[in-house]
């Protein structure tokens, strides 16, 4: 997603799959913009900026009815300074919703009873 050419190519390839399989939307599960996920992944301080640009291209490429979501950590995407961005509203303008990866927040000490007693 680092160049306009690549962003357009990627979006067009997604559109082809979208049409081939009669999909209703696309979820982008990038783990993670601006920080390393799995070993061997590449990342850059410009990831989040480029991600936003890509979502704009994807939104313009897919049919108007297509829903676009993104998997997100429990903090906003990381900005060029390595900190979570303070304003996610540009993403909100392009995404229909986000899927928060709460399973990345480990709480291995609670059990079923804890869930039950704490949630009602």
């Amino acid at each position: 997603m680092s160049t306009a050419e690549n962003r357009k190519l990627f979006a067009n390839n997604i559109l082809e799959v979208y049409n081939t399989y009669s999909l209703d939307g696309i979820d982008i599960d990038w783990e993670y913009p601006g920080s390393v996920g799995d070993s061997g992944n590449t990342h850059s301080p410009e990831d989040t900026t480029n991600f936003l640009k890509f979502l704009g291209v994807l939104r313009a490429t897919l049919p108007i009815s297509a829903k676009i979501s993104a998997a997100a950590q429990t903090i906003p995407f990381l900005g060029s300074d390595g900190d979570p961005i303070m304003d996610s509203s540009p993403f909100a303008a392009l995404l229909d919703w986000v899927l928060i990866m709460n399973y990345d927040t480990w709480q291995c000490e609670f059990h079923a009873q804890t869930i039950s007693s704490g949630s009602n």
């Binding site: 997603m1 390839n13 399989y21 982008i28 799995d38 998997a71 919703w97 986000v98 609670f110 079923a112």
Partner: protein
């Protein structure tokens, strides 16, 4: 643009998972293809969890509350006894069998005025939960996982059967009024195209001439 509220409940049962995220999707030659990640259950890179750890994840809270968020919506607590274990294995989906009681029945209310019910459908559960066994009436949306970007900004599947599986899922889902998204990326599917590619070494990986770092 409307921001919907999605609730997804996923139970990660480490004892059942045996700490193996993909028993039905064994690692393939990484020089040719990526392995799929497992953001659904989060077991792809666990920080040494205890074997009896239960992890319940609630996904999809809105980025920013807007007037389109149901005004009277309060996240309802869930209890294990309220939930029906839909399948066994590494990814266990919990279904709210009391959904009608609390107004989440997928077909009972206008989708614009109630929370949406969603879940991932990862291709490696197909053996235990084929699309033909999914109760689509419980879901507004399913996210088929995963397609993975390659170095040429195209998409690849993590399993040879994934394209046919996705077609079956979409056909059955649409027949029941459930929408399907394709999830692109994942833990091990975020390697290259999202950010930038170390082109030479990555090309070699694709050609199987070197191992990933």
């Amino acid at each position: 643009m409307r921001l919907a509220v999605a609730i997804e409940l996923v139970l990660c049962l480490w004892a059942a998972a045996g700490h193996n995220p993909m028993p039905h999707n064994p690692p393939r030659d990484e020089g040719v293809s990526f392995r799929a990640g497992l953001p659904v259950t989060g077991v792809s890179n666990p920080p040494s969890p205890p074997s009896d750890c239960l992890d319940v994840a609630i996904h999809g809270l809105p980025i920013i509350p807007t007037p389109t968020t149901p005004p009277n919506y309060t996240p309802r607590g869930w209890t294990i006894t309220d939930l029906q274990v839909a399948m066994d294995g590494p990814a266990i989906f919990l279904l709210p069998h009391h959904s009608k009681e609390i107004g989440l029945e997928a077909s009972a209310m206008d989708r614009s005025s109630r929370p949406l019910s969603m879940a991932y459908y990862p291709d490696w559960v197909a053996g235990e939960l084929p699309p033909e066994r999914v109760d689509f009436s419980r879901y507004d949306w399913l996210d088929f996982a995963f397609a993975m970007p390659n170095a040429r900004f195209g998409l690849e599947w993590d399993d040879d059967d994934a394209p046919r599986l996705l077609s079956r899922l979409v056909s059955l889902a649409h027949g029941s009024g459930t929408m399907v998204k394709l999830s692109i990326g994942g833990w091990t599917g975020s390697r290259c195209a999202f950010s930038f590619c170390r082109s030479a070494s990555f090309t070699n990986q694709l050609q199987g001439t070197s191992r990933p770092p």
